[in-house]
């Protein structure tokens, strides 16, 4: 279920309080976080992420072509 996946991804990113901004970009979620160190990569992969790229507080989660939809679902949870 899409909503469930959005919730799992959000939890793995450290929860709504940790998210500054999240944006879908074709194949990936671009996330600006308060604290990038709390990201649970294993949980993201369990939630269906193909890959995770971290650069400090900016984390990109590669989720495939449904990224825009997932980003909208996560926005609804924030």
């Amino acid at each position: 279920m899409a909503d469930e996946r959005a919730g799992r991804i959000l939890a793995a990113l450290g929860g709504a309080d940790n998210v500054v901004e999240i944006e879908g970009c074709i194949t990936r979620l671009r996330c600006e976080l308060e604290d990038g160190s709390v990201v649970d990569e294993a949980a993201l992969k369990q939630a269906g992420a193909h890959g995770v790229m971290k650069a400090g507080s900016v984390v990109q989660v590669v989720v495939g072509p449904e990224a825009d939809t997932i980003a909208e679902d996560i926005q609804d949870l924030l």
């Binding site: 944006e23 970009c25 074709i26 194949t27 990936r28 671009r30 193909h50 890959g51 790229m53 990109q60 590669v62 495939g64 072509p65 825009d68």
Partner: protein, 154 residues
């Protein structure tokens, strides 16, 4: 499976480049699918649809065309160009529109992308495809917009 497979056409004119040489791990490691890239030549041009189908995703800097069988091709105009927020890109289509291969989708200028500090290389990805199902054009060969870039399946 018989026949020659689906022809995926180049969205831009330039030089065929291995996906592995694209400076973005999502593409170079084929995280969302295999494909090939085109190093575009400079100057303002229209990026065209690679296959017949429906535009399922449209951003200024990237779009996805899905064929009637669900097979979808992603075209990404430059790397990290989402940060340009559409500046310098002119959309000729809307999400949900049907397009034919070769139809103009987005006007852009690779020189302007380069001047803004981004790589203008254009990955063309067969979403969720198997690497061995693609027969790509050889790297280094010149290509025009609308020319065959790779065949998929068959």
């Amino acid at each position: 499976m018989t026949g020659a497979g689906r022809v995926v056409r180049s969205p831009v004119g330039g030089t065929v480049t291995a996906l592995a040489d694209v400076p973005d791990p999502v593409f170079s490691q084929a995280m969302v699918g295999p494909g090939i890239a085109v190093q575009p030549r400079g100057g303002h041009a229209d990026a065209v649809a690679p296959i017949d189908g429906t535009l399922t995703t449209v951003h200024a800097h990237a779009f996805v065309v899905a064929g009637d069988d669900g097979a979808a091709v992603l075209v990404h105009l430059g790397i990290d160009t989402v940060k340009q927020h559409g500046e310098g890109f002119t959309l000729h289509v809307v999400k949900g529109e049907r397009v034919r291969a070769g139809q103009p989708v987005v006007g852009w200028d690779p020189d302007a992308v380069l001047a803004a500090g981004y790589a203008p290389v254009v990955p063309v990805i067969a979403l969720d495809a198997q690497q061995e199902s693609l027969q790509p054009a050889p790297s280094g060969s010149p290509v025009e917009a609308g020319d065959e870039l790779f065949s998929w399946g068959g």
